[in-house]
Amino acid sequence: MSKSAYELLLQRAHQVVQAAGMFGEFTTSERFSLRVENEPYMALIIESHPTPDALVGEKRRVLVAHYAVSGGRELPDPELEMTDTGFPIRLRQTAFGVMETPVLWRDATTGHVLVNMRAKRDMAELLRAWAKNIKAQGFIEAASRIVSTGDGGTVALTIQPASDAMTGRTQWGKTEKECLS
């Protein structure tokens, strides 16, 4: 059976995190956040944390996102929160205004866990394309250039421009981004 769009996206997130050598932190940290710079594309953000409310028995929540910056604000473009098995919880997109579409939630009145099947179905195509793009745009390779530092943090490097790669000049300290783990 082929993977669902959500499982594909989660698989892609796992591949990026593994390429960064941070899968252990991804599955155990109280607050895991990885930012992968990959010009000219928007940085890819992958986060995970213990679930505040196990909706479908999940242990952790995973967030995958790109953010566009406009007027000093970071706007999700898009941002998906899902369970650690890849079931979507909430999608946020920016298209004149931020639209937040809940897929899975606990009803405050009844306590039942509800799923919006239509929203889930409608966003599948977008998420499948997104999963494909993360790979095609080289985010896994970009993540493999992340180097752990001695103080428990990590440093993410952008991909070197071809000219610099040819000369062998490093970009250390020039394009580093602090990543929390």
Binding site: F96, G97, L114, R118
Partner: protein, 198 residues
């Protein structure tokens, strides 16, 4: 921020003679006036928006808008009040297909209030969840200097001289055929492993 979506919405608003405060009256005819945009995969959405107005108020408003065949948001109402760069958040509660929307001609809007989910529509779990998310967003944007305002849909003002514009649209008739009731649903209790759970 998609300037194209904003400009498309503005063009539609101007061509339709849209008025601020009449979101359902603006969106519903636009849905059928531009079939190249909305037929067959467009959606008519009822939900909530949060924005800040020029008077430092955080506004939570019951609202209706459209989604095009290609997934672009089209809102011929809010563009009459906000610039393209102003913070604006959408929380869809009930999304209806072209066929479901077509069946609502001459019905009341927001229709979620008139298809068995209570007078305020809050019996619909998706509508209620969208409201809760919108309220959370509105509260997160409040500061001591900002006032919170909640605007619910209502019938057209009986007192036009009041100057207040309603968020909803007047009733025409109230007939709720079976297919419309079904069209209001779409949220199910989660049962893992069942067909469709992928």
């Amino acid at each position: 921020m998609s300037v194209n979506d904003y400009h498309l919405s503005l063009r539609i608003a101007l061509s339709m003679g849209a008025r601020f405060g009449y979101c359902y009256e603006n969106a519903y005819p636009a849905f059928f006036a531009f079939p190249q945009l909305f037929e067959p995969h467009g959606q008519f959405v009822e939900g909530w928006i949060v924005f800040e107005d020029a008077d430092q108020r955080v506004v939570l408003m019951e609202h209706g808008w459209l989604v095009s065949n290609t997934g672009h948001k089209v809102d011929p109402t809010i563009v009459l009040a906000l610039d393209s760069g102003q913070p604006l958040y959408y929380f869809p509660g009930v999304a209806r297909s072209w066929q479901e929307t077509d069946a609502l001609e001459n019905e009341l809007f927001p229709h979620v209030r008139f298809c068995g989910y209570g007078e305020d529509g809050m019996g619909h779990p998706g509508y209620r969840a969208a409201y809760a998310s919108a309220l959370h967003m509105a509260q997160s944007r409040l500061t001591p200097a900002k006032e919170f305002v909640e605007v619910r849909a209502s019938t057209v003002s009986a007192d036009p001289a009041s100057g207040e514009e309603p968020a909803g649209v007047a009733a025409i008739m109230m007939v709720v055929p079976r297919q419309i009731q079904e069209g209001c649903q779409g949220h199910e209790q989660y049962h893992p492993g069942e067909p469709g759970d992928r």
